[in-house]
């Protein structure tokens, strides 16, 4: 099968890791997979093509309108690949009526001028099928396809037992960070704030804490100008906790970077929790040599990560749970390893690729 992905790839955001994985895996499985566009020096292993007619299917991976190419390329693309051979993977749930959750929402009319009907009519016009990375799409005409997956070959340290993992984890000198969150300041601050406020009274129990991502050191002017909340930041709180901030990590550095921390929280945007949308990070954190703290709704964790992963949800008393992990790390590493096995069995990229080709085959 010849598959052309259409999306705006940037090395520090959105689905770049996932798409590059599909390209790599597709080639291994004997498919021809490329990304629409000119070859890029910063993604040398990813084949790009504008030879639209050479492909059987176009898979649009859409977060925002910029994921669609501009003129004249979009016209060439749509003229040369018929609608029944195009699908859209709607990563942010825009193919729904407007939904607002806390400060978050699926349609940012103030930012892009597009209201819900435009997204719905636009997507319906482009593709024969709309897929969303959730187990529970709201619309009948949406197909559930999780898209993102787990890559067992990317696991930094594939421990044979929880004892081995716990021993390595407890060794001094190996982890420069106690807590590290890699992700951008976009609709996550409310949850991070709760996280930091919970550990603030016990600050002396933790070593270095770091935030890696875009705009953790300031609230962007345009957010204030447009009255957009959800990318706030409380610098005083971060300072009290000694939290260090740094810019975005490149997609191929994330797993290694997270392995430098004892704990890595996993947050989804409020909207994503509401819609059950998963992301690359839902799975990727389990590749790192760290204990993921799943700051996610129980039902999502149980359905996606499996029942063992419920132990990795800190619950109401975050500090108590962190204390418990530090006291008996084997118990929690057992959950991590079981979850890795579950993800490998149910959410591998091989499995995703099969699911996608089945969808494309109709």
């Amino acid at each position: 099968m010849k598959i052309l992905f259409v999306s705006r790839l940037e090395r520090w955001v959105r689905a770049v890791r996932t798409i590059t994985k599909y390209v790599e895996l597709g080639q291994q499985l004997g498919h021809e997979v490329a990304v629409f566009g000119e070859p890029r020096d910063d993604l040398p292993s990813v084949p790009h093509s504008r030879d639209v007619k050479a492909f059987d299917f176009a898979v649009f991976v859409v977060y925002e309108t910029a994921d669609f190419p501009d003129l004249p390329h979009l016209a060439h693309l749509l003229d040369r690949i018929p609608k029944e051979r195009r699908i859209i993977i709607d990563c942010t749930g825009v193919y729904n009526k407007t939904i607002a959750v806390e400060h978050d929402r699926n349609h940012w009319v103030k930012l892009n001028g597009h209201q819900d009907w435009e997204w719905i009519e636009g997507f319906a016009a482009v593709a024969s099928r709309i897929l969303q990375p959730t187990l529970t799409p709201l619309r009948d005409d949406v197909t559930s396809f999780l898209f993102f997956g787990y890559d067992p070959t990317a696991v930094v340290r594939p421990y044979r037992s929880p004892q081995e993992a716990a021993k390595a984890w407890c060794e001094n000198g190996g982890k420069p960070y106690d807590v590290l969150y890699v992700g951008h300041n976009w609709q996550r601050w409310t949850q991070l704030k709760r996280f930091f406020e919970a550990i603030e009274p016990r600050r002396n129990r933790f070593g270095t804490i770091q935030l890696r991502g875009w705009a953790w050191d300031h609230r962007p002017d345009w957010a204030a100008a447009n009255g957009i909340d959800g990318l706030d930041v409380d610098l005083a709180l971060l300072e009290r906790l000694g939290v260090k901030t740094d810019g975005p990590a490149m997609f191929d550095e994330v797993i290694g970077l997270q392995s430098l921390a004892r704990f890595c929280p996993v947050f989804h945007r409020p909207l994503f929790n509401e819609l059950g949308l998963v992301t690359n990070r839902t799975f990727e954190t389990f590749c790192s040599d760290t204990i993921p703290l799943l700051m996610l709704p129980d039902q999502i964790v149980e359905k996606i990560h499996g029942s063992a992963a419920l132990r990795l949800i800190p619950g109401e008393d975050l500090v108590a749970r962190l204390d418990d992990i530090m006291h008996r790390p084997e118990f929690y590493w057992d959950a991590v390893l079981k979850t890795r096995a579950h993800l490998a069995a149910h959410h591998s990229y091989e499995r995703r690729f099969e699911e996608m080709t089945a969808i494309l085959d109709g």
Partner: protein, 350 residues
Amino acid sequence: MNILFMMDKRANAGSIQAVACYIRAGDEFSHNIALYGRPDPKYPGIRWSTELGAFDRVVLIVEEHINWLSGLPLIRLLSEVPRERRAILDTDGMYNPVLTVDMYDRNHADENGRACWVGRCAALADKILQPTLEPLEAEALPVPFYGYDPSLRVAPGARGKRFDIMHVGHNWWRWREVSSCLLPAIESIRPKLDGICFVGLWWDMVPGWVRDQNLELAIDLDSEQFRRLKIEVQQAVRFTEVVPVMSEGRVNIMTQRPLFRRLKLLTAKYFEIFCADTIPLVMLDPVHAESIYGPLGRELALHGNIAHRLLDAIESPTKYHEHVEKVRCHLATHHSYRNRVQELVRVLND
């Protein structure tokens, strides 16, 4: 025929007046004409639609830039309207070779800019229309497009005259002609004139982004000269107010950017000014003025001794009003939007 226009709509500029006129005239022929979008109170008289598939043709009204057509509307257009049902109206002559007029006005900054523009448009449609009777490029189809709508007329005396001379139009590639021809002429007769008013964007100050965008030539201004000549400046008005505002002047002057004059591109202003209760004087070549307005167009062309003609119009208005009335009859016969709708339908059907 059902025709949907798509454009970068602006209430105080561009072709929005023409679209409103097409909608009205189309109704007389049972053509359903609308503008892409959702109802917006800033645009009275516009019929809106987002049902791209419900129209026989989509006409993209493209000015200097086409980057407004992006995102979801572009996606829907390309997906729902087959290429052969799309057409582009090139209002600014961008489809022509790179042209520079008097080392001043130009359609493209360079060949690369033209190639980019043409590439985008070629991806959208085969049919390129230009609002001129004499296109330079054989591939461009001549469609006058803009026209005269008598229903816009302001009755004589309905608006009090606040100014002797008015100029309604934006400070956009006009400064060289205004500063070198029009203002010196006005200066020479200023003591004999009452109020003078320029209405439009950027006559009060040059915006800060001009330098960033390398547009110093396009928007230039000598505010001191305006002060010395006691020229009042008013902000741009909504399209529905253009004709009424023009009617506050005894004489209205129409200037046109040099590129448009070279290409003989028509604009809405060619005809709006004759709907106003005023004496229109047009800074056009007399032959071109005659080709549009009929024989008396020459009498209303501001060409040569501008000061003399201005003063003559102020001091002997009856003669000019008679000329204007005859031109209006000519326009109603030859340039009504009834004609325009039929011409457009014909071209789109070919």
